[in-house]
Symmetry: D2
Subunit: 356 residues, 4 copies
């Protein structure tokens, strides 16, 4: 069972809930998020169900959920959620294009990639400043210098920024620049990192682990949600199978399956799934047609000299076809390409107290 406290709940309200649960022989786990506090209950469900928890002060909702991913489940939340990133919606009704370079290399490369993204119809900019790489000898990203470039390009283009965070230690730093934080496939079960982004007050894009079942993916999202952050977008990016013709195997079925199991939006990364430029457009079309809420795509002005994943980046010559796909296909599945918002305001700091 999960108790969602109201935003205005006081510490005393929470203490009352906990005491009542413990008196009944249960355990209560309190998770304080930026916008709300959640209390998870473990114990004899029948016994706990007899407590009048819903009637207590400060209690907003009491959820009895049969699946282990309680807060992100659609069981008590039949409407699918819309997550807003710097004013741009991701969710039902729209199809949101996120594009940009795999890694931020220079200010010029990032700006050019952002302009390619916009020409294709993107309303959000992706770009990695901290890169988790299989080899310690590979390019690891520019770090904070990369974040500054992303912020400057956002200023120039108006595109809100999504970027990866790989270390719990860096969450506040990355959140102070980014509009959305990305958790990469290798970190899907880095629970310390999940809890850190759960507490930071910025939307999170959670990539599926390359070996994770859909249920495990939702459990990872639950770690974030449990800290009070329900602004989560799931991203299918290919799983590992025996097939070696593609870098990963895009599990296209995971989109409708996850959308039935969870109220969170589900987007697709066709670039990392296939790992090859010539597969990006076909997989993009498939992802829109299957009902994805969005796409995240690598573009690069000069992929032949890219420091990371050049072979899968779209180039200038692909932009027109990408623009056509994201414009023409969504209406056939009851969606419209997400349009740019007005001028982007400077993002509010993630944790005012932390950077005051």
């Amino acid at each position: 069972m999960v108790i969602v406290m109201a935003p205005e709940a006081t510490q005393a309200d929470i203490n009352t809930v906990v005491a009542l649960v413990e008196t009944a022989g249960g355990d209560a786990f309190v998770s304080r998020g930026v916008s709300r506090t959640i209390v998870g209950l473990v114990g004899d469900i029948e016994q706990l169900g007899t407590l009048n928890l819903r009637g207590l002060d400060g209690v907003s909702d009491v959820l009895r959920v049969s699946v282990p991913y309680k807060l992100v489940s659609r069981e008590n939340h039949p409407n699918r959620s819309i997550i807003t990133v710097g004013g741009v919606p991701i969710g039902p009704g729209t199809m949101t294009l996120i594009a940009g370079p795999c890694a931020v290399e220079t200010a010029e490369q990032t700006l050019q990639a952002a302009q390619m993204a916009q020409a294709a119809g993107a309303t959000l900019l992706r770009g990695g400043a901290f890169k988790p790489r299989t080899s310690p000898y590979a390019f690891q990203g520019l770090g904070e210098a990369g974040l500054k470039i992303l912020a400057a390009v956002r200023e120039e283009t108006g595109l809100p920024v999504i970027t990866e965070v790989v270390d719990a230690h860096d969450v506040d730093l990355v959140a102070s620049y980014a509009d959305m934080l990305q958790i990469g496939t290798r970190n899907m079960q880095n629970f310390a990192l999940l809890q850190a982004v759960g507490g930071v007050g910025k939307p999170v894009m959670l990539k599926r682990g390359m070996n994770a079942t859909i249920e495990e993916w939702l459990m990872a999202a639950e770690y974030i949600a449990q800290r009070g952050n329900l602004d989560i977008v799931l991203c299918e990016r290919g799983i590992r199978t025996f097939e070696t013709a593609t870098r990963n195997t895009l599990d296209i079925s995971a989109v409708p399956v996850a959308q039935r199991m969870s109220h969170l939006p589900v987007i697709v990364d066709p670039s990392h799934s296939g790992g090859l430029r010539e597969l990006v457009l076909p997989l993009t079309r498939a992802a829109i047609a299957v009902g994805a809420d969005g796409l995240i795509i690598d573009v690069h002005p000069h992929p032949e000299s890219a420091l990371c994943d050049g072979p899968q980046a779209l180039v200038d010559g692909d932009v027109r076809e990408l623009a056509k796909a994201v414009r023409d296909l969504p209406p056939l599945v009851g969606r419209a390409l997400t349009q740019p918002t007005g001028p982007v305001s400077v993002p509010a700091p993630a944790r005012p107290e932390a950077i005051a």
Copy 2:
């Protein structure tokens, strides 16, 4: 190296080719098909290359192919092939819908399913008379009685028939009723069966083995082609992975990948991939959008009492939405739904001499 003999080549022409190759220290494998004979060469390629094979009587083509699937490769065959089944094309430019019951149970059920298929836009009828089942205690199909039902329903509806053959021994029998033979996923490397359908003069639909790489799939097609039958349609039907939320994992990327590697048409089976009714329509849309040349879909008038795979069959209520998907989506990827041909003629027996 592979030598394709002309249709009018004589036995003497073939003997000359073989003798020349053996004189040069190579081995020649002669494969006689219904419409053409193919001679595969093994030996010192440099040495064999110096022979003037192309100039010999009866030689239509000499192919030097770097990949091991020589006849089905796109390397020497840049144009993608169109295969015709009872007058219905499968290949580039069109999107062909095949539908029908997983298993033929009764004449009435099969006719009703065929009518559902037509209402959805199908121009070919699927239906299993010989069913390969994991358990020996499961329904194994009606056998020849099922073939007779399929033939009667073809008579009634005008839909050419595709049905599975599971035993090399039955190939002539099945071919005497069917317009197209299906090789199922468990038989993709049943080489005796592949060779048998390679010699029978009917088009073949080759399902991908649930654990086969795309290259192994093309090698299996090569076994059929080597016997002189190049009328092969590849069918992606999901692979086996660690994910258990779906019956199989549809490898949607396999469609564009196989289309680049081979000139053969590639279709998708969204019913067996997902194994769940509610996934069929989303996966259908994804398959069309990714560029599949066709679809094969289970429909059933009463899936709750189906003897095989009921949970994945579309029902009456789904037909309208399926019809909409196959009509509206193909034009966005440069295709048109394949239209019915005129009245279907009774198919010529596969091997007149064999059943005379």
Copy 3:
């Protein structure tokens, strides 16, 4: 439910059983094997359970089995079975070594390999005359000429012979030469072939499909058993996973798991699992230690020129270490290396009537 008829049961006895079952609303599937007839029942178990089937003439046993692999399950057969091949036992208490060349190439190569096998402690000879190959251009085996070589080497060495059959059509031919028939990994779900070897009266070694679950493997064995042949040995030979450092991934746990689920013996093929000579000895030791009932190992006098799987064949220099492993390790797990039997008698033809 499964009814096992006594060897002396008459056709009238069988008819009585079937009629009684049908009267009670059930279906009866009669499978006639060489040594016994089995009747599988499908229908309302409660209803069928009220019939006094066990009291009918000719009925030897009535099994009520909860798992779908009824005849091979350990549920009604707690003692593990011992299968005898040309007088050589495979099963609990012993550890039986099968060795020989992957493919029979020449009489000399086969004899030399058989002598290596004997020097290592083998009491059965393996060797392929019909080879299922991924590529149609690869060496496909010598066919019947290979079988004749195997028979001659058996005469010379006294080693009973196990060899693969790939086509239902060839089962009688292969059985007329071999002491045990092998079903390869690609044919594990070739149901026509399974049924054919189920009816031939020779023991069968059933390799696990490279993508088959252990339950599917036992279901495939059930197809053989259902035809009256319970002389089945299961062989784990590696499954397909994402790891590419080895040819397959030896699923060593499958040995104790299958031994708990089924009464059939379980052996291991360390040669095909790893695909590399240097892995054969370590995997051999692991297989003995985990409790395998036997091993099947490739040896070759000149692997550098082998026509099939040379890189995984043990050579002369390895024989001493292999002999040491199969002698010293089994006692530590309560087994003894199987010792040679006396002179091997010429095997009786599988189906005298068929080849008379």
Copy 4:
């Protein structure tokens, strides 16, 4: 190319190396470890090879390695390494048993488990205080209270302690109690955590990611090594495959394969591989026979009430058989069970300055 600096190298020595490399157009990455500093070079290998790097002051070795896991590769380090944990060796010649509870629950349970471990022949104690769990609602471990229990049990039994660290933030804390740090399967590519344990001066046990290739596993080890910590033990614990009869699929071949690719010791976790008590002993025997350098096994005095992974823990009744296996089998593969050392000294703090 990798430059290993001598322990006595000065900052000026390092600066000279870096300057020389940059003058030649290369990039130098300096990694300072506790005991040595390593400089990785990226650039034109031919050009860098002409520099006389080996002759510079403070340079201990210059490695030119063809594989991407340079420091842990066996290419320049043909002798396999022995890692010492609290005086107990892990490596060639010995077979070291690590045992204990999956999770530390109480002082009494931990002590009882440690006594079971000792009775079985263990010389190192395992036990989790920080537990990474798929569900945020599952028991997450006792944290520092668990570390204190482990330290007390070490005092009582003399067994050095290995325990998991899941957050880079906790590395100093855990290292101040533990003799060896464990990186779990879900964190194998948590690069921040790898780098943190690389700098802490305690040996590390690196579990293989459940979806990681052997090469990726060695690359993860390289992240630790690059920070100056080469005291790494690799642990195979089962990979994720399609098979569901076992929790994971123990990749037994990974032991000899990793031992050929790397000089690091390789041990096996039979408890997490199979996930079932009845598989632990067979897999233990297989692991010893295949040549593992050690084993890590779950034991629990009362697994029915265990807070984590009870179904796979060995119980009192299994201890005698485990003791027999680890005593009798190693001599057959040229090893001896590692014997207890004398009284364990209190471990020196990991980073005196950090906890002073």
